[in-house]
């Protein structure tokens, strides 16, 4: 019986292992976007208008990433926020691209900065293709003490010949240098010199082989007089090696000073990004009256009180939550650009959704799609803080777009 239970137990373990391998291979091709807790994905950063283009390039060609983001005003209190320190980053598998430029509101992002919660920032990045392959390229906002907050991504295909890759830059001393190989000669030469010195000292002692057992026995025999084992030849060798070592260190230092007379220390520090008012913000105010997620129907229902402060009628066209876009097809036509673009093209339904100019109205919104489950947003009910946040996009009669962030407690409906 015991043996049978052991066999069954081991068999189950092997089966589980094989199954998990099968599941893992079908999904391990992007950046684990679904792995982060649902509430964090909703309440960290609202990314929108993200464009990554072109999606087919060759080595040395550039891709451009543009868009906007809003650090959520519902940022979880237990996490350090971008108001402390943050860095605009990009999610690619290592240096498959190099980053030529990144800016937020026009300010270069080579350093870290901080961002105010609830404010809209425009960003742009230029990357240059370096390695051939197919990569999922993401925007990322890295937040100190919290980690990366991943934004939308797109598949980019890079072709061509990797050997053609070039990355030259001009220094302030007037030299054009290739960053792929710059300084390598120094590294190889000096590392080889020191390897040689170290091996020479090692070989000096190895030539006395056998050294372990005889010396062990001799030390035990001589006791306090064991230092007599060190010969005058050994002392001379040590003095020579020490002298050459100190000389080479000094020589190397002054040689480098002569060759590179102008140097600066590594640069660090934060830059300030001034907030620029976005024309789409603060034009429509929204208050969440009720928010429920109906689990059987995969339907997120919102009751909203909308105050239209513009001089045109507006209606809700897009609800973006955790980078998933639910689209009201009566207002907008949006199709996914690739298999990983998180768009529910007909996922948004609004009851009596037209709001007159300068009017306030209650509307009922339904965001319904299987994406709630496939992107594990339903796991919000397992979070210790059942609150959501998302971005609403209203469209006016004149074609203008207005965005506003909403959030608040969410109740699950199980029946």
């Amino acid at each position: 019986m015991f043996i049978l239970s052991r066999v069954v137990g081991e068999g189950c373990k092997i089966a589980l292992m094989l199954m998990s391998f099968f599941v893992a291979t079908t999904d391990a091709v992007a950046h684990g976007e679904r792995a982060q807790q649902a509430g964090l994905r909703m309440r960290a950063v609202q990314w929108f208008d993200t464009k990554i283009e072109p999606v087919n390039v060759k080595i040395n060609e550039e891709i451009r990433i543009t868009g906007k983001f809003v650090p959520s005003k519902f940022w979880p209190e237990h996490m350090k926020s971008p108001a402390d320190a943050a860095f605009l980053n990009v999610g690619v598998p290592g240096p498959t691209f190099i980053r030529l430029d990144s800016r937020v509101n026009g300010v270069p992002m080579i350093r870290s900065t901080s961002f105010e919660l609830g404010k809209t920032y425009s960003y742009e990045m230029r990357l240059k293709a370096r390695k051939t392959g197919r990569y999922h390229v993401h925007t990322v906002l890295s937040v100190e003490g919290t980690g990366p907050v991943i934004g939308p991504g797109a598949w980019v295909e890079v072709g061509g010949n990797e050997g053609n890759f070039e990355n030259t830059v001009k220094t302030l001393t007037g030299d054009n240098i290739d960053l792929e190989s710059y300084g390598m000669r120094n590294i190889v030469v000096w590392s080889t010199i020191w390897f040689g010195m170290g091996l020479a000292w090692f070989i000096y002692w190895l030539l006395k082989c056998p050294i372990i057992v005889p010396r062990f026995k001799m030390v035990a025999k001589l006791g306090d007089k064991a230092d007599e084992m060190i010969t005058n030849g050994d002392k001379k060798a040590a003095a020579i090696f020490l002298g050459i070592t100190l000389f080479l260190i000094g020589f190397g230092y002054f040689w480098a000073q002569e060759k590179y007379p102008i140097t600066t220390p590594l640069q660090t520090g934060k830059v300030h990004v001034p907030h620029r008012h976005d024309p789409g913000e603060d034009k429509v105010d929204v208050e969440v009256i009720d928010a429920r997620y109906r689990i059987p129907g995969r339907s997120f229902e919102l009751t909203l009180r909308v105050k239209n402060k513009t001089d045109q009628r507006v209606q809700l066209g897009n609800f973006t939550i955790a980078n998933v876009r639910f689209i009201n097809s009566k207002v907008l036509k949006v199709k996914p650009v690739d298999s990983h673009d998180l768009v529910a093209s007909e996922g948004l339904r609004v009851e009596d959704g037209m709001i007159d100019a300068n009017a306030t109205k209650e509307i009922k919104v339904f965001a319904e799609d299987a994406l709630w489950e496939t992107y594990r947003l339903t796991s919000l009910i397992y979070d210790p803080d059942s609150r959501f946040a998302g971005m609403l996009f209203f469209f006016g009669d004149n074609g203008d777009r207005f965005h506003t962030e909403v959030g608040g407690p969410m109740l699950p409906v199980f029946m």
Binding site: P95, R130, E180, Y182, G183, T264, P265
Partner: protein, 256 residues
């Protein structure tokens, strides 16, 4: 002189009969043990170095003037001190510094080429290891010349920590050349860190001169070097004592 047949017939059987045979056995022991020791050093030291120094030596844009010349020698001196005590007191061999650091260097180069360059795709000039073999040589030579742990600590360990920056300046200087990038002054190293994307390493993660010692102006490097030197002395004495405690092997005697 006893004949070989008579030797074999003797009651106290032993495999080693002559001095030549004994020498041959001892050589074989060296042949087996020394490469194992080198491998062992490479493994232990790489692990220890990764956990203590880690990124400070992995990337060219992490080697600042304050933390890299302080953390690195204090981490490096551990194995040379511990094993230096063992090798000197048991074998009178001043080799621990050099051999342990050569082992580390070999393992580091293999790792940087295979992991960082071939697998991850970073240019080798961005991830090459610094050189530390000279420091091990200094420690070993001072130990042999003084035959004293005290003076080795006082002079050897002081130089060990003091000289790490000038030793590596020929490797680092090209990467400290200034560049103007999008209106901001950066070094070549900063620029490489920015351009060659590391998604898990945003700029604020770099610990570059975090402290108030900036009030010393340009004297940051020599000040840090001297401070590291003094800490190196204490560190050497402490780890040599650990070597002394470890070499007693009291627990082996208790087993047998």
């Amino acid at each position: 002189m006893t004949s070989e047949k008579e030797l074999i017939d003797r009651e106290d059987l032993t495999a080693v009969m002559t001095l030549d045979q004994q020498r041959s056995v001892f050589k074989n022991i060296d042949l087996m043990v020394i490469p194992l020791i080198v491998l062992l050093f490479a493994g232990i030291f790489s692990f220890h170095f990764a956990l203590t120094v880690g990124d400070w030596d992995y990337w060219v844009d992490w080697r600042d003037r304050r933390w890299w010349p302080l953390v690195t020698p204090l981490s490096l001196i551990v194995l040379p001190s511990v094993f230096g005590y063992l090798l000197w007191t048991r074998l009178r061999l001043p080799l621990a510094g050099t051999v342990s650091i050569i082992s580390l260097a070999l393992a580091a180069w293999v790792s940087r080429v295979m992991n960082f360059e071939v697998f991850a795709g970073f240019p080798l000039n961005m991830v090459s290891p610094s050189t530390f073999i000279a420091l091990g040589l200094i420690l070993d030579c001072v130990l042999l010349l003084t035959r004293s742990f005290f003076f080795t600590g006082f002079f050897g360990a002081f130089l060990f920590a003091l000289l790490i920056y000038p030793l590596n300046w020929p490797l680092m200087a090209p990467f400290r050349v200034p560049v103007e990038y999008n209106g901001i002054l950066v070094t070549v190293a900063d620029l490489m860190g920015y351009e060659y994307i590391r998604t898990a390493m945003p700029e604020y993660v770099r610990i570059i001169e975090h402290s108030t010692l900036r009030t010393f102006g340009e004297a940051v490097t020599p000040l840090t070097a001297v401070f590291a030197g003094f800490l190196g002395i204490l560190s050497y004495f402490f780890w040599t004592w650990i070597g002394h405690v470890a070499s007693k092997a009291v627990w082996i005697k208790r087993i047998f």
